[in-house]
Protein backbone atom coordinates (compact mmCIF):
# COMPACT_ATOMS: atom_id res chain seq x y z
CA UNK A 1 0.00 0.00 0.00
CA UNK A 2 1.21 3.45 -0.82
CA UNK A 3 1.22 6.27 1.65
CA UNK A 4 -0.56 8.97 -0.28
CA UNK A 5 0.27 11.66 2.26
CA UNK A 6 2.93 14.01 0.92
CA UNK A 7 5.15 15.78 3.38
CA UNK A 8 5.59 19.54 3.02
CA UNK A 9 9.12 18.93 1.81
CA UNK A 10 7.88 16.52 -0.82
CA UNK A 11 5.27 19.04 -1.94
CA UNK A 12 7.96 21.66 -2.18
CA UNK A 13 10.15 19.41 -4.29
CA UNK A 14 7.31 18.56 -6.63
CA UNK A 15 6.53 22.26 -6.95
CA UNK A 16 10.16 22.79 -7.87
CA UNK A 17 9.82 20.16 -10.58
CA UNK A 18 6.77 21.92 -12.01
CA UNK A 19 8.54 25.29 -11.83
CA UNK A 20 11.60 23.95 -13.62
CA UNK A 21 9.43 22.37 -16.32
CA UNK A 22 7.65 25.71 -16.77
CA UNK A 23 10.97 27.57 -17.03
CA UNK A 24 10.53 29.40 -13.72
CA UNK A 25 13.18 29.89 -11.05
CA UNK A 26 13.33 27.47 -8.13
CA UNK A 27 14.57 27.94 -4.60
CA UNK A 28 18.39 27.90 -4.33
CA UNK A 29 18.42 24.80 -2.13
CA UNK A 30 16.54 22.89 -4.82
CA UNK A 31 18.66 23.91 -7.74
CA UNK A 32 19.81 20.33 -8.18
CA UNK A 33 16.20 19.45 -9.01
CA UNK A 34 16.13 22.16 -11.63
CA UNK A 35 19.34 20.81 -13.17
CA UNK A 36 17.95 17.29 -13.04
CA UNK A 37 14.78 18.33 -14.78
CA UNK A 38 16.66 20.08 -17.53
CA UNK A 39 19.05 17.19 -17.96
CA UNK A 40 16.30 14.60 -18.10
CA UNK A 41 14.28 16.69 -20.49
CA UNK A 42 17.24 16.87 -22.77
CA UNK A 43 17.20 13.07 -22.84
CA UNK A 44 13.77 12.88 -24.35
CA UNK A 45 13.52 11.25 -27.72
CA UNK A 46 12.43 13.41 -30.60
CA UNK A 47 10.58 12.08 -33.60
CA UNK A 48 12.41 12.15 -36.87
CA UNK A 49 11.44 14.55 -39.60
CA UNK A 50 10.26 11.90 -42.07
CA UNK A 51 8.10 10.28 -39.40
CA UNK A 52 6.51 13.62 -38.53
CA UNK A 53 5.78 14.27 -42.18
CA UNK A 54 4.18 10.85 -42.62
CA UNK A 55 2.09 11.21 -39.51
CA UNK A 56 1.07 14.75 -40.40
CA UNK A 57 -0.09 13.47 -43.77
CA UNK A 58 -2.09 10.64 -42.21
CA UNK A 59 -3.75 13.05 -39.83
CA UNK A 60 -4.51 15.39 -42.71
CA UNK A 61 -6.27 12.59 -44.57
CA UNK A 62 -8.00 11.52 -41.36
CA UNK A 63 -6.28 8.12 -41.21
CA UNK A 64 -7.99 6.93 -44.37
CA UNK A 65 -7.34 3.29 -45.09
CA UNK A 66 -6.92 2.04 -48.64
CA UNK A 67 -9.84 -0.17 -49.60
CA UNK A 68 -10.71 -2.25 -52.65
CA UNK A 69 -12.64 -0.38 -55.31
CA UNK A 70 -15.89 -2.27 -54.69
CA UNK A 71 -15.78 -1.71 -50.98
CA UNK A 72 -14.91 1.93 -51.44
CA UNK A 73 -17.84 2.39 -53.78
CA UNK A 74 -20.21 0.65 -51.38
CA UNK A 75 -18.95 2.74 -48.52
CA UNK A 76 -19.39 5.82 -50.66
CA UNK A 77 -23.01 4.92 -51.30
CA UNK A 78 -23.56 4.29 -47.60
CA UNK A 79 -21.94 7.59 -46.74
CA UNK A 80 -24.12 9.35 -49.30
CA UNK A 81 -27.21 7.71 -47.85
CA UNK A 82 -26.15 8.70 -44.37
CA UNK A 83 -25.58 12.21 -45.56
CA UNK A 84 -29.07 12.37 -46.97
CA UNK A 85 -30.65 10.80 -43.93
CA UNK A 86 -29.22 11.86 -40.68
CA UNK A 87 -29.21 9.53 -37.72
CA UNK A 88 -31.74 11.66 -35.94
CA UNK A 89 -34.17 11.09 -38.77
CA UNK A 90 -33.28 7.44 -39.26
CA UNK A 91 -33.83 6.25 -35.72
CA UNK A 92 -37.42 7.49 -35.38
CA UNK A 93 -38.20 6.09 -38.81
CA UNK A 94 -36.84 2.69 -37.87
CA UNK A 95 -38.70 2.79 -34.57
CA UNK A 96 -41.94 3.74 -36.30
CA UNK A 97 -41.51 0.97 -38.86
CA UNK A 98 -40.85 -1.61 -36.14
CA UNK A 99 -43.84 -0.41 -34.14
CA UNK A 100 -46.07 -0.51 -37.21
CA UNK A 101 -44.95 -4.02 -38.01
CA UNK A 102 -45.63 -5.13 -34.45
CA UNK A 103 -49.06 -3.51 -34.47
CA UNK A 104 -49.98 -5.16 -37.76
CA UNK A 105 -48.90 -8.58 -36.52
CA UNK A 106 -50.74 -8.28 -33.23
CA UNK A 107 -53.84 -6.72 -34.75
CA UNK A 108 -54.00 -9.40 -37.39
CA UNK A 109 -53.84 -12.12 -34.80
CA UNK A 110 -56.52 -10.37 -32.74
CA UNK A 111 -58.92 -9.54 -35.54
CA UNK A 112 -58.79 -13.00 -36.99
CA UNK A 113 -60.05 -14.17 -33.61
CA UNK A 114 -57.43 -16.76 -32.97
CA UNK A 115 -57.86 -16.87 -29.22
CA UNK A 116 -61.56 -17.49 -28.90
CA UNK A 117 -61.77 -19.75 -31.89
CA UNK A 118 -59.31 -22.03 -30.30
CA UNK A 119 -61.59 -22.31 -27.36
CA UNK A 120 -64.65 -22.92 -29.48
CA UNK A 121 -63.18 -25.97 -31.02
CA UNK A 122 -62.74 -27.55 -27.62
CA UNK A 123 -65.46 -29.72 -26.29
CA UNK A 124 -66.87 -28.48 -23.02
CA UNK A 125 -66.19 -31.00 -20.33
CA UNK A 126 -69.43 -30.28 -18.55
CA UNK A 127 -71.76 -31.21 -21.36
CA UNK A 128 -74.86 -32.89 -20.02
CA UNK A 129 -75.16 -36.49 -20.91
CA UNK A 130 -77.86 -39.05 -20.20
CA UNK A 131 -77.21 -41.03 -17.13
CA UNK A 132 -77.50 -44.42 -18.68
CA UNK A 133 -74.71 -46.08 -20.51
CA UNK A 134 -71.35 -44.61 -21.38
CA UNK A 135 -71.07 -41.13 -22.79
CA UNK A 136 -68.95 -40.40 -25.81
CA UNK A 137 -68.04 -36.90 -26.91
CA UNK A 138 -67.20 -36.30 -30.50
CA UNK A 139 -66.18 -33.18 -32.37
CA UNK A 140 -68.31 -33.63 -35.41
CA UNK A 141 -70.31 -36.46 -36.76
CA UNK A 142 -69.27 -37.46 -40.22
CA UNK A 143 -71.85 -36.44 -42.82
CA UNK A 144 -73.54 -39.38 -44.42
CA UNK A 145 -72.92 -41.58 -41.48
CA UNK A 146 -75.06 -44.52 -40.53
CA UNK A 147 -77.58 -42.18 -38.92
CA UNK A 148 -78.77 -41.09 -42.32
CA UNK A 149 -79.93 -44.61 -43.09
CA UNK A 150 -82.00 -44.86 -39.94
CA UNK A 151 -85.40 -43.73 -41.10
CA UNK A 152 -87.16 -45.53 -38.32
CA UNK A 153 -86.80 -45.16 -34.61
CA UNK A 154 -83.59 -47.10 -34.47
CA UNK A 155 -80.31 -45.23 -34.51
CA UNK A 156 -77.12 -47.02 -35.38
CA UNK A 157 -73.87 -45.54 -34.20
CA UNK A 158 -71.60 -44.19 -36.90
CA UNK A 159 -68.73 -46.47 -37.77
CA UNK A 160 -66.23 -43.90 -36.77
CA UNK A 161 -67.63 -43.37 -33.34
CA UNK A 162 -66.18 -45.53 -30.65
CA UNK A 163 -68.94 -46.50 -28.31
CA UNK A 164 -67.63 -47.69 -24.99
CA UNK A 165 -69.17 -50.84 -23.62
CA UNK A 166 -71.74 -50.40 -20.94
CA UNK A 167 -71.26 -51.89 -17.53
CA UNK A 168 -72.96 -54.87 -16.05
CA UNK A 169 -76.09 -56.20 -17.77
CA UNK A 170 -75.92 -53.51 -20.47
CA UNK A 171 -72.85 -55.09 -22.00
CA UNK A 172 -73.84 -56.82 -25.17
CA UNK A 173 -70.76 -57.52 -27.22
CA UNK A 174 -71.23 -58.54 -30.83
CA UNK A 175 -74.57 -56.85 -31.29
CA UNK A 176 -74.69 -54.92 -34.58
CA UNK A 177 -77.76 -52.71 -34.23
CA UNK A 178 -76.60 -50.55 -31.38
CA UNK A 179 -79.12 -48.18 -29.84
CA UNK A 180 -77.45 -44.80 -29.47
CA UNK A 181 -78.93 -41.66 -27.99
CA UNK A 182 -77.39 -38.52 -29.43
CA UNK A 183 -77.29 -34.90 -28.29
CA UNK A 184 -75.53 -31.79 -29.50
CA UNK A 185 -74.77 -28.28 -28.38
CA UNK A 186 -74.09 -25.39 -30.69
CA UNK A 187 -72.92 -21.99 -29.41
CA UNK A 188 -73.21 -19.19 -31.93
CA UNK A 189 -72.08 -15.58 -31.77
CA UNK A 190 -73.28 -12.74 -33.92
CA UNK A 191 -73.73 -9.00 -33.87
CA UNK A 192 -76.14 -7.75 -31.22
CA UNK A 193 -78.58 -6.44 -33.80
CA UNK A 194 -78.73 -9.80 -35.54
CA UNK A 195 -79.74 -11.90 -32.54
CA UNK A 196 -83.41 -12.00 -33.55
CA UNK A 197 -82.66 -12.76 -37.18
CA UNK A 198 -80.46 -15.67 -36.25
CA UNK A 199 -83.07 -16.88 -33.76
CA UNK A 200 -85.67 -16.92 -36.56
CA UNK A 201 -83.25 -18.84 -38.74
CA UNK A 202 -82.78 -21.43 -36.01
CA UNK A 203 -86.50 -22.05 -35.95
CA UNK A 204 -86.53 -22.25 -39.74
CA UNK A 205 -83.76 -24.85 -39.75
CA UNK A 206 -85.65 -26.86 -37.15
CA UNK A 207 -88.73 -26.89 -39.34
CA UNK A 208 -86.69 -27.82 -42.40
CA UNK A 209 -85.32 -30.97 -40.80
CA UNK A 210 -88.66 -31.99 -39.31
CA UNK A 211 -87.77 -31.16 -35.74
CA UNK A 212 -89.56 -29.32 -33.01
CA UNK A 213 -88.62 -26.42 -30.77
CA UNK A 214 -89.04 -27.62 -27.19
CA UNK A 215 -88.06 -24.36 -25.48
CA UNK A 216 -86.88 -21.00 -26.72
CA UNK A 217 -85.75 -17.76 -25.13
CA UNK A 218 -84.71 -14.64 -26.99
CA UNK A 219 -83.40 -11.52 -25.30
CA UNK A 220 -82.19 -8.71 -27.53
CA UNK A 221 -81.20 -5.11 -27.00
CA UNK A 222 -78.97 -2.37 -28.37
CA UNK A 223 -76.03 -3.21 -26.15
CA UNK A 224 -76.25 -6.93 -26.70
CA UNK A 225 -78.52 -9.89 -26.37
CA UNK A 226 -78.74 -13.64 -26.24
CA UNK A 227 -81.02 -16.48 -27.20
CA UNK A 228 -81.26 -20.13 -26.28
CA UNK A 229 -83.18 -22.99 -27.78
CA UNK A 230 -83.76 -26.63 -27.01
CA UNK A 231 -84.59 -28.48 -30.16
CA UNK A 232 -85.51 -32.08 -30.91
CA UNK A 233 -84.60 -33.14 -34.40
CA UNK A 234 -84.79 -36.56 -36.04
CA UNK A 235 -81.55 -38.34 -35.32
CA UNK A 236 -81.27 -39.30 -38.97
CA UNK A 237 -81.12 -35.59 -39.89
CA UNK A 238 -79.00 -34.42 -36.96
CA UNK A 239 -75.91 -33.84 -39.06
CA UNK A 240 -77.91 -31.90 -41.61
CA UNK A 241 -79.39 -29.76 -38.86
CA UNK A 242 -76.01 -29.08 -37.28
CA UNK A 243 -74.56 -28.16 -40.63
CA UNK A 244 -77.34 -25.67 -41.31
CA UNK A 245 -77.18 -24.23 -37.82
CA UNK A 246 -73.44 -23.75 -38.12
CA UNK A 247 -73.93 -21.59 -41.19
CA UNK A 248 -76.22 -19.15 -39.43
CA UNK A 249 -73.49 -17.31 -37.50
CA UNK A 250 -69.98 -17.63 -36.16
CA UNK A 251 -69.67 -20.96 -34.36
CA UNK A 252 -68.00 -20.46 -31.02
CA UNK A 253 -68.28 -24.12 -30.05
CA UNK A 254 -70.00 -27.23 -31.25
CA UNK A 255 -70.14 -30.53 -29.43
CA UNK A 256 -71.94 -33.82 -29.86
CA UNK A 257 -72.66 -36.64 -27.45
CA UNK A 258 -73.39 -40.25 -28.22
CA UNK A 259 -74.78 -42.44 -25.44
CA UNK A 260 -75.12 -46.14 -25.99
CA UNK A 261 -78.39 -47.38 -24.44
CA UNK A 262 -78.50 -50.72 -26.24
CA UNK A 263 -78.32 -52.61 -22.98
CA UNK A 264 -81.24 -50.73 -21.48
CA UNK A 265 -83.26 -51.21 -24.66
CA UNK A 266 -82.59 -54.95 -24.86
CA UNK A 267 -83.45 -55.42 -21.21
CA UNK A 268 -86.76 -53.67 -21.73
CA UNK A 269 -87.48 -55.82 -24.77
CA UNK A 270 -86.63 -58.96 -22.84
CA UNK A 271 -88.88 -58.00 -19.97
CA UNK A 272 -91.73 -57.26 -22.40
CA UNK A 273 -91.24 -60.59 -24.17
CA UNK A 274 -91.26 -62.40 -20.83
CA UNK A 275 -94.42 -60.64 -19.76
CA UNK A 276 -96.10 -61.48 -23.05
CA UNK A 277 -95.10 -65.12 -22.69
CA UNK A 278 -96.48 -65.13 -19.17
CA UNK A 279 -99.71 -63.61 -20.45
CA UNK A 280 -100.01 -66.30 -23.10
CA UNK A 281 -99.51 -68.95 -20.44
CA UNK A 282 -102.12 -67.36 -18.21
CA UNK A 283 -104.58 -67.26 -21.11
CA UNK A 284 -104.04 -70.95 -21.64
CA UNK A 285 -104.58 -71.54 -17.91
CA UNK A 286 -107.75 -69.48 -18.08
CA UNK A 287 -109.09 -71.56 -20.95
CA UNK A 288 -108.40 -74.72 -19.01
CA UNK A 289 -109.78 -73.49 -15.68
CA UNK A 290 -112.63 -75.59 -14.29
CA UNK A 291 -113.63 -73.86 -11.13
CA UNK A 292 -114.78 -70.37 -10.39
CA UNK A 293 -112.03 -69.76 -7.92
CA UNK A 294 -109.37 -70.92 -10.33
CA UNK A 295 -110.77 -68.67 -13.05
CA UNK A 296 -110.80 -65.64 -10.73
CA UNK A 297 -107.25 -66.25 -9.65
CA UNK A 298 -105.96 -66.49 -13.19
CA UNK A 299 -107.90 -63.35 -14.22
CA UNK A 300 -106.35 -61.40 -11.33
CA UNK A 301 -102.90 -62.52 -12.32
CA UNK A 302 -103.65 -61.60 -15.95
CA UNK A 303 -104.55 -58.05 -14.93
CA UNK A 304 -101.24 -57.60 -13.18
CA UNK A 305 -99.33 -58.96 -16.13
CA UNK A 306 -101.31 -56.73 -18.48
CA UNK A 307 -100.28 -53.66 -16.42
CA UNK A 308 -96.67 -54.73 -16.51
CA UNK A 309 -96.84 -55.13 -20.27
CA UNK A 310 -98.33 -51.64 -20.66
CA UNK A 311 -95.58 -50.12 -18.51
CA UNK A 312 -92.88 -51.99 -20.40
CA UNK A 313 -94.31 -50.90 -23.76
CA UNK A 314 -94.29 -47.27 -22.55
CA UNK A 315 -90.66 -47.66 -21.47
CA UNK A 316 -89.77 -49.02 -24.90
CA UNK A 317 -91.52 -46.10 -26.58
CA UNK A 318 -89.52 -43.65 -24.47
CA UNK A 319 -86.30 -45.39 -25.35
CA UNK A 320 -87.19 -45.37 -29.04
CA UNK A 321 -87.93 -41.64 -28.85
CA UNK A 322 -84.58 -41.00 -27.20
CA UNK A 323 -82.80 -42.72 -30.06
CA UNK A 324 -84.97 -41.48 -32.90
CA UNK A 325 -84.86 -37.83 -31.81
CA UNK A 326 -81.80 -35.97 -30.72
CA UNK A 327 -81.72 -33.02 -28.38
CA UNK A 328 -79.93 -29.99 -29.75
CA UNK A 329 -79.20 -27.05 -27.45
CA UNK A 330 -78.49 -23.85 -29.32
CA UNK A 331 -77.22 -20.63 -27.72
CA UNK A 332 -76.75 -17.33 -29.48
CA UNK A 333 -74.68 -14.59 -27.91
CA UNK A 334 -73.77 -11.16 -29.12
CA UNK A 335 -70.20 -10.80 -30.23
CA UNK A 336 -68.52 -7.92 -28.37
CA UNK A 337 -66.05 -7.46 -31.19
CA UNK A 338 -68.86 -7.03 -33.68
CA UNK A 339 -70.49 -4.24 -31.69
CA UNK A 340 -73.93 -3.19 -32.79
CA UNK A 341 -73.35 -2.63 -36.43
CA UNK A 342 -70.69 -5.17 -37.27
CA UNK A 343 -68.22 -2.40 -38.07
CA UNK A 344 -65.06 -1.39 -36.32
CA UNK A 345 -66.14 1.24 -33.84
CA UNK A 346 -63.98 3.57 -31.75
CA UNK A 347 -64.82 1.37 -28.78
CA UNK A 348 -63.44 -1.60 -30.66
CA UNK A 349 -60.40 0.45 -31.59
CA UNK A 350 -59.85 1.36 -27.95
CA UNK A 351 -60.20 -2.26 -26.87
CA UNK A 352 -57.82 -3.40 -29.58
CA UNK A 353 -55.34 -0.67 -28.64
CA UNK A 354 -55.41 -1.75 -25.00
CA UNK A 355 -55.01 -5.34 -26.03
CA UNK A 356 -52.10 -4.49 -28.29
CA UNK A 357 -50.42 -2.54 -25.50
CA UNK A 358 -50.90 -5.50 -23.20
CA UNK A 359 -49.30 -7.79 -25.74
CA UNK A 360 -46.43 -5.36 -26.30
CA UNK A 361 -45.91 -5.05 -22.56
CA UNK A 362 -45.88 -8.82 -22.31
CA UNK A 363 -43.37 -9.13 -25.12
CA UNK A 364 -41.18 -6.48 -23.53
CA UNK A 365 -41.42 -8.18 -20.15
CA UNK A 366 -40.49 -11.57 -21.56
CA UNK A 367 -37.69 -10.02 -23.58
CA UNK A 368 -36.34 -8.29 -20.50
CA UNK A 369 -36.54 -11.52 -18.56
CA UNK A 370 -34.34 -13.10 -21.19
CA UNK A 371 -32.08 -10.20 -22.04
CA UNK A 372 -31.36 -8.85 -18.58
CA UNK A 373 -29.53 -11.95 -17.32
CA UNK A 374 -27.73 -12.25 -20.63
CA UNK A 375 -26.80 -8.57 -20.50
CA UNK A 376 -25.60 -8.96 -16.95
CA UNK A 377 -23.43 -11.90 -17.93
CA UNK A 378 -22.11 -10.02 -20.95
CA UNK A 379 -21.35 -7.00 -18.78
CA UNK A 380 -19.51 -9.15 -16.27
CA UNK A 381 -17.55 -10.78 -19.08
CA UNK A 382 -16.59 -7.41 -20.53
CA UNK A 383 -15.66 -6.09 -17.09
CA UNK A 384 -13.60 -9.19 -16.35
CA UNK A 385 -11.95 -8.97 -19.74
CA UNK A 386 -10.96 -5.37 -19.13
CA UNK A 387 -9.50 -6.18 -15.75
CA UNK A 388 -7.57 -9.10 -17.19
CA UNK A 389 -6.27 -7.02 -20.08
CA UNK A 390 -5.26 -4.21 -17.75
CA UNK A 391 -3.44 -6.68 -15.54
CA UNK A 392 -1.62 -8.18 -18.50
CA UNK A 393 -0.55 -4.72 -19.61
CA UNK A 394 0.78 -3.87 -16.19
CA UNK A 395 2.65 -7.16 -16.13
CA UNK A 396 4.16 -6.30 -19.49
CA UNK A 397 5.40 -3.01 -18.00
CA UNK A 398 6.84 -4.74 -14.95
CA UNK A 399 8.68 -7.19 -17.19
CA UNK A 400 10.71 -4.43 -18.86
Amino acid sequence: MHDDTLTPEARRELAAVDAALAGDRVDPDLVDIERLVLAVRDERERPSGPFCERLDARVAERFARPRPAGVARALGLVAAARARTSRRMLLPALGAAASLLLVVVVATSLLTGGGEDTLTKDEPAGLSAPATGGAVQERQAAPGSADDEAGNSTTVAPPGVAVPPSTGADTLPGRQDRRVERAATVALTTAANRIEDVADDVIGVTDDVGGIVVTSSVNSGERGGSASFQLRVPTGRLDEALEKLSKLAHVRSRTQNADDITGTFVSAEDRLAASRAERRGLLRQLAAADTTNETASVRARLRLVQQEIAAQQAELRRLRERTSFSVVNVTIDSDSRSGTGGGWTPRDAWNDAVRILEVIAGVVLVSLAVLLPLGLLAGLAVFGGRIARRRQREQALDAT
Binding site: L14, V17, G23, E45, C52, L55, F63, R393, E394
Partner: protein, 177 residues
Protein backbone atom coordinates in the same frame (compact mmCIF):
# COMPACT_ATOMS: atom_id res chain seq x y z
CA UNK B 1 13.65 24.22 -24.85
CA UNK B 2 11.89 21.75 -27.05
CA UNK B 3 9.23 22.65 -29.50
CA UNK B 4 6.54 20.72 -27.72
CA UNK B 5 7.09 22.19 -24.30
CA UNK B 6 7.18 25.66 -25.74
CA UNK B 7 3.59 25.29 -26.91
CA UNK B 8 1.03 26.16 -24.30
CA UNK B 9 -1.27 23.31 -23.42
CA UNK B 10 -4.68 24.36 -24.57
CA UNK B 11 -7.35 24.54 -21.96
CA UNK B 12 -10.93 24.24 -22.97
CA UNK B 13 -14.29 24.36 -21.30
CA UNK B 14 -15.52 21.03 -20.08
CA UNK B 15 -18.34 20.89 -22.56
CA UNK B 16 -16.26 21.90 -25.54
CA UNK B 17 -15.88 19.18 -28.15
CA UNK B 18 -12.51 17.54 -28.68
CA UNK B 19 -10.35 19.48 -31.14
CA UNK B 20 -8.34 16.59 -32.47
CA UNK B 21 -6.09 18.63 -34.73
CA UNK B 22 -5.07 20.97 -31.92
CA UNK B 23 -4.49 18.00 -29.64
CA UNK B 24 -2.33 16.39 -32.28
CA UNK B 25 -0.27 19.51 -32.87
CA UNK B 26 0.45 20.02 -29.18
CA UNK B 27 1.00 16.38 -28.25
CA UNK B 28 2.69 14.62 -31.14
CA UNK B 29 6.26 14.98 -29.92
CA UNK B 30 5.30 14.38 -26.28
CA UNK B 31 3.49 11.16 -27.11
CA UNK B 32 6.45 9.97 -29.12
CA UNK B 33 8.88 10.77 -26.31
CA UNK B 34 6.72 8.98 -23.77
CA UNK B 35 6.18 5.90 -25.94
CA UNK B 36 9.87 5.77 -26.82
CA UNK B 37 10.78 5.83 -23.15
CA UNK B 38 8.48 2.85 -22.58
CA UNK B 39 9.55 0.84 -25.59
CA UNK B 40 13.13 2.08 -25.91
CA UNK B 41 12.87 1.44 -29.61
CA UNK B 42 12.48 4.40 -31.95
CA UNK B 43 11.03 2.40 -34.80
CA UNK B 44 8.44 0.74 -32.60
CA UNK B 45 7.75 4.08 -30.93
CA UNK B 46 6.91 5.59 -34.31
CA UNK B 47 4.50 2.80 -35.10
CA UNK B 48 2.86 2.94 -31.69
CA UNK B 49 2.62 6.73 -31.78
CA UNK B 50 0.88 6.61 -35.12
CA UNK B 51 -1.39 3.85 -33.85
CA UNK B 52 -2.23 5.85 -30.73
CA UNK B 53 -3.25 8.91 -32.71
CA UNK B 54 -5.30 6.80 -35.10
CA UNK B 55 -7.12 5.15 -32.19
CA UNK B 56 -7.70 8.53 -30.63
CA UNK B 57 -9.07 9.87 -33.88
CA UNK B 58 -11.47 6.96 -34.30
CA UNK B 59 -12.59 7.16 -30.68
CA UNK B 60 -12.71 10.95 -30.48
CA UNK B 61 -16.50 10.90 -30.03
CA UNK B 62 -16.12 8.79 -26.91
CA UNK B 63 -14.05 11.47 -25.21
CA UNK B 64 -15.81 13.01 -22.25
CA UNK B 65 -14.38 16.21 -20.70
CA UNK B 66 -15.87 15.16 -17.38
CA UNK B 67 -13.47 12.24 -17.18
CA UNK B 68 -10.30 14.21 -17.70
CA UNK B 69 -8.35 16.44 -20.03
CA UNK B 70 -7.81 15.59 -23.70
CA UNK B 71 -4.09 15.09 -23.06
CA UNK B 72 -4.75 12.69 -20.23
CA UNK B 73 -7.17 10.79 -22.43
CA UNK B 74 -4.66 10.71 -25.30
CA UNK B 75 -1.80 9.52 -23.12
CA UNK B 76 -4.05 6.78 -21.70
CA UNK B 77 -4.58 5.53 -25.23
CA UNK B 78 -0.86 5.81 -25.98
CA UNK B 79 0.01 3.94 -22.80
CA UNK B 80 -2.33 1.05 -23.66
CA UNK B 81 -0.92 0.89 -27.18
CA UNK B 82 2.62 0.85 -25.91
CA UNK B 83 1.91 -1.82 -23.30
CA UNK B 84 0.13 -3.90 -25.94
CA UNK B 85 3.27 -3.60 -28.04
CA UNK B 86 5.38 -4.74 -25.08
CA UNK B 87 3.06 -7.70 -24.55
CA UNK B 88 3.29 -8.56 -28.20
CA UNK B 89 7.03 -8.49 -28.29
CA UNK B 90 7.53 -9.98 -24.83
CA UNK B 91 10.99 -8.63 -24.85
CA UNK B 92 12.73 -5.38 -24.12
CA UNK B 93 13.87 -3.66 -27.22
CA UNK B 94 17.29 -2.03 -27.16
CA UNK B 95 17.37 1.72 -27.04
CA UNK B 96 17.96 3.11 -30.46
CA UNK B 97 18.55 6.73 -29.67
CA UNK B 98 20.86 7.67 -32.44
CA UNK B 99 23.94 7.95 -30.18
CA UNK B 100 26.13 9.33 -32.92
CA UNK B 101 24.09 12.50 -33.17
CA UNK B 102 24.03 12.94 -29.42
CA UNK B 103 27.75 12.59 -29.10
CA UNK B 104 28.32 15.00 -31.94
CA UNK B 105 25.97 17.53 -30.43
CA UNK B 106 27.53 17.19 -27.02
CA UNK B 107 30.99 17.60 -28.36
CA UNK B 108 30.10 20.62 -30.37
CA UNK B 109 27.90 22.56 -27.98
CA UNK B 110 28.23 21.58 -24.39
CA UNK B 111 31.60 20.24 -23.71
CA UNK B 112 32.78 17.46 -21.50
CA UNK B 113 31.04 18.51 -18.30
CA UNK B 114 27.59 18.54 -19.87
CA UNK B 115 28.28 15.29 -21.67
CA UNK B 116 29.21 13.69 -18.37
CA UNK B 117 26.06 14.99 -16.71
CA UNK B 118 23.92 13.57 -19.46
CA UNK B 119 25.63 10.25 -19.23
CA UNK B 120 24.92 10.25 -15.50
CA UNK B 121 21.27 11.10 -16.07
CA UNK B 122 20.95 8.47 -18.76
CA UNK B 123 22.51 5.87 -16.48
CA UNK B 124 20.18 6.96 -13.67
CA UNK B 125 17.16 6.56 -15.89
CA UNK B 126 18.35 3.12 -16.93
CA UNK B 127 18.61 2.06 -13.31
CA UNK B 128 15.04 3.08 -12.56
CA UNK B 129 12.27 0.55 -12.55
CA UNK B 130 9.96 0.68 -15.51
CA UNK B 131 7.10 2.21 -13.53
CA UNK B 132 9.33 4.97 -12.16
CA UNK B 133 10.78 5.59 -15.59
CA UNK B 134 7.24 5.86 -16.96
CA UNK B 135 6.36 8.43 -14.32
CA UNK B 136 9.44 10.46 -15.16
CA UNK B 137 8.55 10.31 -18.83
CA UNK B 138 4.96 11.37 -18.26
CA UNK B 139 6.06 14.27 -16.09
CA UNK B 140 9.31 15.40 -17.64
CA UNK B 141 8.73 14.50 -21.29
CA UNK B 142 4.99 15.00 -21.63
CA UNK B 143 4.53 17.68 -18.99
CA UNK B 144 1.35 16.13 -17.55
CA UNK B 145 -0.10 17.57 -14.39
CA UNK B 146 -0.60 15.32 -11.40
CA UNK B 147 -4.31 15.12 -12.20
CA UNK B 148 -3.54 13.97 -15.72
CA UNK B 149 -0.94 11.54 -14.39
CA UNK B 150 -3.55 10.05 -12.09
CA UNK B 151 -5.96 9.65 -15.00
CA UNK B 152 -3.40 7.92 -17.19
CA UNK B 153 -2.24 5.54 -14.48
CA UNK B 154 -5.68 4.91 -13.02
CA UNK B 155 -4.79 6.08 -9.52
CA UNK B 156 -5.88 8.93 -7.30
CA UNK B 157 -4.30 12.37 -7.64
CA UNK B 158 -2.61 12.18 -4.23
CA UNK B 159 -1.34 8.71 -5.04
CA UNK B 160 0.04 9.99 -8.31
CA UNK B 161 1.87 12.76 -6.45
CA UNK B 162 3.35 10.28 -4.01
CA UNK B 163 4.47 7.95 -6.78
CA UNK B 164 5.98 10.82 -8.73
CA UNK B 165 7.89 12.13 -5.73
CA UNK B 166 9.30 8.67 -5.05
CA UNK B 167 10.37 8.32 -8.67
CA UNK B 168 12.04 11.74 -8.62
CA UNK B 169 13.79 10.90 -5.37
CA UNK B 170 15.07 7.62 -6.81
CA UNK B 171 16.32 9.43 -9.87
CA UNK B 172 18.08 12.05 -7.76
CA UNK B 173 19.78 9.33 -5.76
CA UNK B 174 20.70 7.39 -8.87
CA UNK B 175 22.24 10.46 -10.43
CA UNK B 176 24.16 11.41 -7.30
CA UNK B 177 25.38 7.89 -6.65
Amino acid sequence: MTETLAVAIPTRPAEQALDFDALYRTSRDDVFAYVASLLRDRSAAEDVTAMAFERAFRRRRTFSPRRGSPRGWLFGIARNAALDELRRRKRVAPLVADPEDVSATLAAEDGAELALRREVVRAGLERLEARDRELIALKFFAGLSNVELAGVLGVSESNAGTLLHRAVSKLRKACHA
